[in-house]
Each structure stands twice: as C-alpha cells, then as structure tokens.
C-alpha cells in the first residue's frame, strides 16, 4: 500500500466524520422535537411520530439510503449522494434519539414542573429554564452511545458511492489487487474513531451520570 493510498483512506475518514457529524447535528434536535410531540401528546402528530419511530428503527440504513437516493428524484426532488447520505443518517438516528429524549422526559420529576407552574412560568419557559438544562445532562451518555452506533452504520452510505473510508478501501483494493492491507488499515481507523466516542461516553457518564433528576 502506497503513501497516496493511505492519504485517500485518511480523506475517507474525514468524509465519514463530517457526514456523521452532520447527521448527528440534524438528528439529535429532530429527535428532541419528535420526543416532545409524543410527550405533549399533540393530536395527530403524536401517533404519527410513534409510527415513524417504529418504522425507522426497523429499516436497515442501506435500504433507507437507496430509498432516499433513488426514489426522491422520481417524485421531483433532485438530491446528490452526499445530501442523501446525510439525510439517511439524520432520519435514522432521529428515531433512536427520540426514544432517548422521551425516556428522559418521562422520568423527569413532576414536582419541578408543578413548582415552576405555581410560580407562573409559561410552558416554553418551563422547558427552556427548568427541564432542558437537566434533560440534556441525563440524556448525554445515551446520546453519545447512539453516535457510536451511527459511526458504525455510516458504512451504509458507501452503497450510493460516497467516498468514505469503506469506499476508499474498496477502491484501493481494486486498483492494487491486494484488498487486505487497505481493509485492515480502514478497520483500524474505524476502531480508533469508535474508541474516541467510547472515551467521550465514559467522560460524560463520569461528569453527568448521576447528575440527573432533582438536584
């Protein structure tokens, strides 16, 4: 394996990380919105959210990726591979994030909300000043764990030709007729990426692990 091949694997790693980050940046807030819809039992939207979460949690990332990339242009929405990849990861992770946010919301101490209401705070103010500052701390370890899973499922976007780590490894293997070295290096890069996230998760657990609930 040449130095150039190694560089293109590193470039692939950059693509994997940036696409995953974009997926996380969109998926985490979208998951929170979905969780709030279910938590507040918004008519019509809450049951739709339930169906969305159930459906997306049982859809393979590869199938979702193909669906978005091939089907959207048919109904008139032009989408390039990179946007399709980001949309896949965001829609997929949002369903899992919704469940994390929701479990945090349902276990949130009711007394605090009632106390805030007694002080005359409005619904949005209660959420912004009382619930959310505690909610994100309790949910963070589980959210980081989901991010680790997202890095691993991001290999699915190779199927529509996004030049991330897996795709780069395949291409180098096909050019040199020696697939084993680039694949082992690629695997090594993934292990490092995942270990970084596992480290962040341990750190957040230590910092905020027991900080949830009434304190």
């Amino acid at each position: 394996m040449t130095f150039n091949a190694f560089l293109s694997l590193l470039h692939g790693a950059g693509v994997t990380v940036s696409v995953s980050m974009a997926g996380i940046a969109l998926g985490v807030p979208f998951g929170l919105v979905l969780a709030l819809l279910r938590w507040r039992r918004v008519p019509l939207l809450a049951p739709l959210t339930t169906v969305y979460v159930s459906l997306l949690r049982s859809t393979p990332a590869v199938t979702l990726c193909l669906l978005i990339f091939f089907a959207l242009p048919v109904i008139g929405i032009e989408i390039d591979a990179l946007s399709a990849a980001i949309a896949t990861l965001a829609l997929n992770t949002a369903a899992f994030n919704c469940e994390i946010w929701r479990s945090g919301l349902t276990s949130f101490p009711r007394e605090q909300v009632e106390a805030a209401r007694t002080f005359g705070m409005s619904g949005t103010l209660i959420f912004r000043r009382i619930i959310f500052p505690q909610l994100w701390r309790t949910c963070l370890p589980a959210l980081v764990n989901e991010m680790t899973l997202l890095i691993k499922s991001s290999t699915a976007i190779a199927v529509i030709g996004v030049a991330e780590i897996t795709r780069a490894a395949i291409r180098i293997g096909a050019q040199t007729y020696d697939p084993l070295p680039p694949m082992l290096v690629a695997t090594g890069i993934y292990v490092v990426l995942v270990l970084v996230f596992v480290g962040i998760q341990r750190l957040t657990e230590r910092l905020y692990g027991q900080a949830g609930g009434a304190r």
Binding site: R57, S58, A61, V62, T63, L67, F70, A71, M183
Partner: protein, 218 residues
C-alpha cells in the same frame, strides 16, 4: 402509482425470495452466534486471567468494527489467506463472527447477575452436571436474555441488508434489482421497508410471548 403497485405484485415472488433469504440468514446466523456466544461467555467468565483478558480484548475489538468492514474482510480478505467462500456463505460467516461477540456479552451480563440460590437448590434436589445446566441454568439465562436476544436479532435482520453490497440475494438486493429493471424505486424500496418492519414486529411479538412465559415461571 397503480402501475407501480401492479409491477411489484407481478414481481412479488422475487421480493419473497429475498425475504426468505433474509430470514434464513438471520435465523441461522443468530442461532450459531448464540451457540458460539455461549462458549465465548464461558471464556469471559473464566477464572484464568489470560483467557479472560484475551477473550475480553477480542470481544471489545469486534464491537468497534462496522459490520460491513467485517463482511469485506471475510469476502475479499480471507481468499488471500487461502479461504474462499461464495457470497452467501461469506455473508453468513460474517454474521456469525460479528454477532458471537454481542451474544457473548449478552449472556455474560445475565450470567453474572444470576442468583446462586436456584443453582444450589437444584444441586440439593440432586441435579448435577449436564442436567443442572440444561434444566436449571440455561432456562433462566435464556428467559432473562430474551428481550436482549430479540433486540440483537432485529439488529441482525437490519445488518443482512449490508450483504447486498457483496451480491447476496437478500431482500434489499431483490428490491434493488427490481427497481433497476422497471425504474420504480419508490414502490419497491417502500415494499422492502414494510417487509423489514413486519419482520421486526414478529420478533417483538416473539419476545413478548417469551416474557409472558418467564413472568409465569417466576
């Protein structure tokens, strides 16, 4: 749209073939992974330090690797070492190797929380050796592990979709070949997604039934 649905209907047998392959790969893969996982769990619980640390290292490493990467290593990498599989077998081998690590971790978790009293009571009632394992230990482990094994099975079903990349004729592959032939991507992939959804519902139903049995036996 009606034309799309009727085209899907005409090609339903291809989708069902794909679905059958997905189900067989998932079930056979999960069963083998469970058996090997139980063996690895014994190594994870071993009193020998070297055995315990080696198996822990291997299990942790496997859990850091993306499934698709392992599939490529088995399908393109192993032939370099003289082991050549066709794509179907390579897919199954990858599923088994990958999920053995996860199953071992599930079984180890349950095992370490198992109460000693029931085992001691079993011994007091004259159970020993294989009979003790088969009648007292294993039923407890598997009834308690059912929800986690069910979750893992859903994960395996979803992971089989990756095998389309090495041309295993599973559900996503069938859907992709139908959409490439008739250019009706929306209807085909949506049908595939709905079939995956139904499959996962069946698994969840199975877990629910096992949980009910476990509740009765407590």
């Amino acid at each position: 749209m009606i034309r799309d649905v009727s085209l899907i209907w005409q090609n339903a047998d291809r989708l069902l073939d794909g679905l059958t392959n997905t189900v067989i790969l998932s079930l056979v893969g999960a069963t083998l992974a469970l058996v090997f996982g139980a063996l690895v769990a014994i190594a994870l619980m071993a009193s020998n330090r070297a055995v315990r640390l080696t198996s822990r290292g291997l299990v942790d490493l496997m859990r850091c690797v993306p499934f698709l990467m392992l599939v490529y290593l088995v399908y393109y990498g192993l032939p370099r070492l003289g082991l050549r599989f066709d794509s179907w077998t390579a897919g199954l081998v990858a599923i088994v190797i990958y999920n053995t690590a996860y199953m071992a971790e599930i079984i180890r978790g349950i095992w370490s929380r198992l109460e000693r009293e029931t085992i001691e009571a079993g011994i007091a009632f004259g159970f020993h050796g294989w009979k003790l394992v088969a009648r007292i230990v294993m039923p407890q482990i598997f009834l308690a592990a059912a929800p986690m094994i069910g979750n893992q099975l859903i994960q395996i079903i979803k992971d089989t979709a990756f095998l389309t990349i090495i041309a295993v004729p599973e559900l996503t592959h069938a859907a992709n070949s139908i959409q490439a032939q008739y250019f009706i991507p929306f209807a085909t992939f949506l049908s595939a997604v709905l079939l995956y959804w139904a499959l996962c519902m069946v698994v969840e139903l199975g877990v629910f039934v096992v949980e009910r049995i476990a509740e009765k036996r407590r």
